[in-house]
C-alpha cells in the first residue's frame, strides 16, 4: 500500500531542506505502517498504544529538539514535522509525545540539576521511563497561578499536598513534574517518582476525546520527596509557562496533520461518492467550496507553523507568536474535521474513517495548553498592552 502522499497545494515542500524531508519521511512511514492500522481499535477500546513507545524512542521522537543525553538535537521545523505526522495519526499519540518531550524532558533539561538530567533524560529519551506534567487542578485550569498544591520544606525533604487533574499519562508515568507553591507562595517544579508514598494516580473514564491517550487525576497526600527533586532553575509561573510554549509549538504543527488527514479523506471520498445523475459529489459547488476552504486554511497554517519554527530556531520567538500558531491551527483543524465530516455524510460518523476521531480529539486540543480564547487574550494583551484575563 502506498503511504500518505502529503497535502501540499502551494509547493510548501520547496521550503524544506533534504534533512527536513527525511525526518518527515520517517515519521510519515511510522504513522502509515505502525499507527494507522491499529489506532481505531485503540481509540474504540480507550487504550493507549503503549507498544509503540520503544520504537518511537529508538526513532528519536522523544525530546527530538533537545541537545545531549541521547536526544537527536533536531531543529524546530524538523521537530514540528514529526508532530505533524504523529497527529495525522492521532492527537492522543501526539499528546503523549508532546508531554514526554516538551512538558517532561524540556523542564528537566532547562530547569533541572545535572544529577536530575543524568538520571532521567536518557531513560525518557529511549522511552524506558515515561513522564507526566501536573499543572492543572480541579479548581484551576486557565488560571494555574491560583493553584492550591503546596510544598512545605521539612529538613532535607519537601512535603507535597494537593490534587492535579486532567493529567496526560498520569497513571503510566514513572516520573511526574508537579508544580506546587512553596511557603513563600512561589511556584516550583518537583520530580515525583511513581510509587512515592502519598502519591496516587487514577484514570479519567468516559472520555469521548483523546481515547488513545491516558488522562489521569493525581493526588498528593503528605507526599514526601527529597529536596534535591526540586527543579533548581524554575521559579514562578514562568517555569511551567516556558514548558507550555514548547508544547504549544508542537501542537501548532500537529493540528496541521490532523487537518490533512481529514481533508485528504474528504477529498478522496468526494471524488468517488456519486449522487444525482451519477455525478461525484465533488462536482457540486457547495462541496468544492468546503474543499477549497480547507486546502487554503491548511496552506496558511503550514506557512504559519514554518515561520514560527524558523523564528524559534533563530531564538526570536516569544510566547505570543506561539499562541497565535496554536490558536489558529487547532481552530482550523477542528473546522476542517467538521467540514470533512459533513462531506462524508453518514459515513462521516463511523470509525471506518478517521474524521470523527480527529474531530473529537481536536475538542481536547482546542481546550488544553491554553484554551482557544485564552490565546486570544494573550495576543490581545500583546497588542494592546492591557491584560484582560480578569
Amino acid at each position: 500500500m502506498a503511504g500518505f502522499p502529503g497535502v501540499d497545494f502551494i509547493d510548501f515542500d520547496s521550503l524544506l531542506t533534504g534533512d527536513e524531508k527525511l525526518v518527515r519521511q520517517t515519521a510519515r512511514a511510522f504513522v502509515d505502517e505502525q499507527v494507522l492500522p491499529i489506532i481505531e481499535k485503540h481509540n474504540r477500546e480507550g487504550v493507549f498504544p503503549r507498544h509503540l513507545v520503544p520504537q518511537m524512542g529508538e526513532l528519536g521522537f522523544f525530546g527530538a529538539s533537545l541537545k545531549g543525553y541521547g536526544c537527536a538535537g533536531m531543529s524546530n521545523v524538523e521537530y514540528g514535522l514529526v508532530t505533524q505526522e504523529l497527529e495525522r495519526g492521532d492527537s492522543g499519540l501526539r499528546s503523549f509525545v508532546s508531554v514526554q518531550s516538551a512538558l517532561v524532558m524540556y523542564p528537566i533539561h532547562a530547569y533541572g540539576s545535572d544529577a536530575q538530567k543524568e538520571k532521567w533524560l536518557p531513560k525518557l529519551q529511549k522511552g524506558e521511563a515515561l513522564g507526566c506534567f501536573g499543572l492543572t487542578e480541579p479548581q484551576f485550569g486557565s488560571n494555574p497561578g491560583g493553584m492550591l498544591t503546596r510544598a512545605v520544606r521539612k529538613r532535607d525533604r519537601y512535603i507535597l499536598n494537593g490534587e492535579k487533574m486532567w493529567i496526560t499519562s498520569g497513571s503510566i508515568a514513572d516520573v511526574a513534574v508537579i508544580w506546587a507553591k512553596t511557603e513563600d507562595d512561589v511556584i516550583h517544579g518537583f520530580l515525583v517518582e511513581k510509587g512515592t508514598p502519598g502519591f496516587k494516580a487514577w484514570d479519567v473514564h468516559g472520555k469521548y476525546s483523546l481515547r488513545a491517550s491516558v488522562t489521569s487525576g493525581l493526588a498528593m497526600t503528605d507526599c514526601e520527596v527529597p529536596a534535591e527533586n526540586l527543579l533548581p532553575k524554575a521559579e514562578g509561573l514562568k517555569g511551567p509557562l516556558g514548558c507550555l510554549t514548547q508544547a504549544r509549538y508542537g501542537i501548532g504543527w500537529g493540528a496541521v496533520g490532523a487537518a490533512m488527514a481529514c481533508y485528504d479523506t474528504a477529498l478522496q471520498y468526494a471524488k468517488t461518492r456519486k449522487q444525482f445523475n451519477n455525478r461525484p459529489i465533488a462536482s457540486h459547488q457547495l462541496v468544492q467550496e468546503k474543499l477549497a476552504w480547507m486546502i487554503t486554511e491548511i496552506s496558511k497554517a503550514q506557512l504559519l507553523a514554518y515561520h514560527v519554527g524558523k523564528l524559534k530556531d533563530a531564538g526570536r520567538v516569544d510566547f505570543s507568536k506561539v499562541s497565535m500558531l496554536k490558536m489558529n491551527n487547532v481552530w482550523m483543524a477542528l473546522e476542517c474535521a467538521r467540514k470533512s465530516r459533513d462531506i462524508l455524510g453518514a459515513n462521516g460518523i463511523v470509525d471506518d474513517y478517521c474524521i470523527m476521531r480527529h474531530m473529537n480529539n481536536l475538542e481536547s486540543v482546542y481546550t488544553y495548553e491554553g484554551t482557544h480564547d485564552i490565546h486570544k487574550l494573550i495576543i490581545g494583551e500583546k497588542i494592546t498592552g492591557i491584560p484582560a484575563y480578569m
Binding site: V23, E58, V82
Partner: protein, 257 residues
C-alpha cells in the same frame, strides 16, 4: 566487508507525471523524487551484512544534483559514505551507459567485496544495470536474491524462481547481487541517524570526467500515457456458464488467477 550499494532516485510513486517537451522524458520540475524502492531492500541487506560481518557500506548514486538526497537517506539509515556520479542529463543514458559510468566510479574504490543493486528501477524498469555492471567489472553475479549467507569468503545464496520455487547457489567473493524486493523490511532513518549523516562524506565525481562517454546504443523515442479505453463485455448464459466463462477470462486474459 566493503559493500557498495547502487541506489537510484526515481519520481515519487504518487507524483503527477507530465511529459517534457520532445516527449522523450517527463517534466522533472514540480514533482517529488524518492529512493527507488527495490534499492531500499538492497541497502537494508547491505546494512545487515555490515552489522553481522563488520566493514563499511558505500552508497553510490548517479543522477543530477537532486539524487544526492537518495545518498543522504542511505547515510541516515547507516551507510558510511557516499559517491555521487553527477550527470544532469543522465536520463538520456541507456542501461549500458549507466552501467559503464557506475563501473568506472566503482573501479576507483579498491577492495570492494560485494556490490548490491535492486532488481530494477521503478521508473524505467530495465532491470539490467546490475547484470551489466557485473559483466563490466568482471564479477560473478546472481539475481533475484532472497537470502545471503556469507562464510569463509564465499556466499550461499537463495534465489527466487517462478511459482514458489527457490534455488540455492554458491558464489565466491567479490561478486555482484541483484536483490529481490521483499527480502527484508527496510528500516526507518532514525532522527539521530539523520543528524549523524550530516557529518558523513559524499564524494561527487562528474560523469563526463570518467572517460566513458560513448554514444548510447539505445534511446527513448517517446513516452506517453496509454489511452484508457473502456470495453464492457456482457457474459451470457446460465449462472454456471457465466461463472465458467468469467474464470476463463480471468485466467487467460486478465491473468490474475
Amino acid at each position: 566487508m566493503k559493500i557498495v550499494v547502487c541506489i537510484k532516485q526515481v519520481p515519487a510513486k504518487d507524483a503527477p507525471l507530465a511529459m517534457a517537451e520532445g516527449g522523450a522524458w517527463i517534466k522533472e520540475t514540480d514533482i517529488g523524487f524518492e529512493m527507488n524502492e527495490p534499492d531500499a531492500y538492497a541497502l537494508e541487506e547491505a546494512l545487515r551484512l555490515k552489522e553481522k560481518h563488520g566493514g563499511e557500506v558505500i552508497a553510490v548514486s548517479m543522477g543530477p544534483e537532486r539524487s544526492k538526497q537518495a545518498i543522504k537517506e542511505a547515510l541516515a539509515k547507516g551507510a558510511d559514505r557516499g559517491i555521487h556520479v553527477a550527470d544532469e542529463r543522465f536520463y538520456t543514458l541507456d542501461p549500458l551507459g549507466a552501467a559503464r559510468s557506475i563501473a568506472a566510479a566503482i573501479r576507483r574504490e579498491p577492495g570492494v567485496d560485494l556490490i548490491l543493486t535492486g532488481l530494477q528501477s521503478d521508473d524505467q524498469g530495465f532491470g539490467q544495470t546490475g547484470v551489466l555492471l557485473a559483466e563490466l567489472l568482471g564479477l560473478p553475479h546472481a539475481t533475484i536474491i532472497m537470502q545471503i549467507d556469507v562464510a569463509d569468503g564465499r556466499m550461499k545464496l537463495k534465489r527466487e524462481l517462478e511459482a514458489g520455487w527457490f534455488q540455492w547457489v554458491e558464489l565466491p567473493l567479490p561478486a555482484l547481487l541483484s536483490i529481490q524486493s521483499g527480502i527484508n523490511k527496510p528500516r526507518y532513518a532514525t532522527l539521530k541517524g539523520i543528524m549523524a549523516a550530516k557529518k558523513k562524506e559524499i564524494v561527487s565525481v562528474v560523469r563526463a570526467e570518467l572517460g566513458v562517454d560513448e554514444p548510447a546504443t539505445q534511446h527513448i523515442e517517446r513516452i506517453y500515457v496509454p489511452h484508457k479505453s473502456k470495453k464492457t463485455e456482457m457474459l451470457t448464459g446460465s449462472p454456471k456458464e457465466v461463472a465458467a466463462k468469467l474464470v476463463e477470462k480471468l485466467r487467460r486474459e486478465a491473468r490474475v488467477l
